[in-house]
Symmetry: C2
Subunit: 192 residues, 2 copies
């Protein structure tokens, strides 16, 4: 039963999710997590074996969140192009970037198969769902049939991740928005 206030374990997980998003794994210390969660050392080491264990839980949850948001667009009504377009143009906190994508640049995460696995699964899933959506558009003669939907799906997923990179470098949302507009124009040219 939900008691209203978040319990300590939950606050630790959510604080870790935030810090991993903002700073990544190596740059996030247990102390910083405890401060944000308003929890003491003892609490953290009672609920989790250590930083690694807590981060694993936080990463898994972030991965689920990313997929759940995307899925809500892919399963919406409308043509394939419309669904992809709605996903690409959805409101985002552009300068924060992708909770999962940013972790691919963290050396300690890449060196640990357990921590990297949710990243692999997230983008594997994302490409699969985009591929299915595009293939669906091809079957319905919405799109030409002379291209590989998996390759276009990869380009779409990459565009989002790369758009974040360009925007972060610039310190502005402009490049991300340009990137998305460019990709939508390109996708439009695949229509029959």
């Amino acid at each position: 039963m939900y008691s209203g206030a978040m319990d300590t374990r939950e606050r630790l997980i959510e604080s870790t999710m935030e810090l991993l998003w903002e700073r990544g794994y190596v740059a996030t210390s247990p102390k910083a997590i405890q401060r944000r969660a308003q929890a003491g050392q003892g609490s953290m080491y009672h609920h989790f074996t250590g930083k690694h264990d807590l981060a694993l839980e936080a990463i898994r949850r972030s991965a689920e969140q990313v997929c759940a948001v995307a899925e809500s667009y892919f399963t919406a009504s409308g043509s394939a192009y419309e669904r992809i377009s709605a996903y690409l143009t959805r409101e985002r906190d552009v300068l924060r970037g992708c909770r999962i994508g940013r972790l691919t640049q963290d050396p300690d995460i890449m060196a640990d198969p357990e921590l990297r696995r949710p990243l692999d699964e997230t983008f594997g899933w994302m490409r699969k769902r985009l591929t299915e959506t595009i293939a669906c558009g091809q079957e319905q003669n919405e799109f030409d049939s002379d291209f590989d939907p998996g390759e276009i799906a990869a380009a779409i997923a990459a565009t989002v991740q790369g758009g974040y990179v360009l925007s972060k470098a610039a310190g502005s949302e402009g490049p991300f928005n340009d990137t998305i507009r460019g990709m939508l124009r390109l996708l439009g040219s695949l229509k029959t």
Copy 2:
């Protein structure tokens, strides 16, 4: 006059460039730099005021390198599509990713305007050169004229950066290659 062996200052810079590429800024310690450069503490602090100073020099040099490589493709002979295609399909160490792009995920770099500036300049320059190349293709009637070359340029630059992200997450070069093939197919559809 060039004496054959690299001097200590140079070894420090190149070691830092490598470590920033492999691990980023926060995860790279002065000690690790010294070990790789085969230089002592004293040497490092003689040639540079500290980690920040050394990293700034290393980042600037990496940025120049990235631009120099790209420029060699953009100024080559051939149609606009051919030049962009050659750039996109050039040999790369995919799983290492982009020396500059990866730094956009480093909290200490993003928090320091001096360290972030070369990132901004690199991608600003990259988008500008891609835009010029595409606009050139439009003027020559190689491409349609009904799209914004700056937006397509952003999508191309983002595709490369995002392709690295997908490949790192997967631990395989496959996603990057799919991404590039997808983008080339999309660019092909802009041809007249």
